[in-house]
């Protein structure tokens, strides 16, 4: 099966600019996650979708981050305006269903550098 697709792979922007990341999950996977991985740390969940509904966005900095999954398939994550501390790898993951025992399938990530 095709994996989770993310684009772009790399992005460099200046602080206060905006940026958007795109994710296409594995076909048939209803649950989609966005994680932020800062250098030297493990991935941290930003938001989880079940189909096109938000299940958990408690750790999403909503003053600057937004995410959508309008048709229950692709998703975009936006940062506006970006701060230096947003420099990180943004990972998208998907699973067939929500459940504690279901392993996540990850994309390659988008490496964001904010200067």
């Amino acid at each position: 099966e095709a994996g989770v697709a993310q684009s772009p792979r790399y992005k460099i922007i200046e602080k206060r600019q905006s940026v958007a990341f795109w994710c296409n999950p594995i076909s048939g996977h209803a649950t989609l996650y966005w994680y932020q991985q800062i250098l030297g740390q493990g991935p941290k969940l930003l938001i989880q979708f079940q189909n096109n509904g938000v299940v958990d966005d408690s750790q999403l900095p909503k003053d600057r981050f937004s995410a959508e999954r309008l048709k229950g398939v692709d998703s975009t994550l936006k940062i506006q305006p970006a701060k230096l501390e947003d420099s990180a790898v943004y990972l998208c993951a998907s699973t067939q269903r929500t459940g504690g025992a279901t392993p996540l399938h990850f994309g390659n990530g988008t490496r964001l550098t904010v200067t």
């Binding site: 740390q41 493990g42 991935p43 989880q48 299940v55 958990d56 025992a101 996540l104 990850f106």
Partner: protein, 113 residues
Amino acid sequence: AQSVSQHNHHVILSEAASLELGCNYSYGGTVNLFWYVQYPGQHLQLLLKYFSGDPLVKGIKGFEAEFIKSKFSFNLRKPSVQWSDTAEYFCAVNAKSSYKLIFGSGTRLLVRP
């Protein structure tokens, strides 16, 4: 709140050496436990998982991990590492009632040929 600790941030081994990476978690209830691996230039992928039953679980590429409930630990082991095991390894935990996966900070393993 749940947390995961990986004590070794960087490990350097020679080929054929044995490997043990530590992972401890803090959570009072029943948990699912995972080890993910990220090879250079590749995406995170599942190495092995524990849900229930035999606390010694075997994963891909000769890796295994042992769940010791009394110690809140889920250490990863491999008897003889290869150069191709060079990667970053992440321990992750979620409560059985939850979908939220909490990751440790990762351990970078370098295997010298």
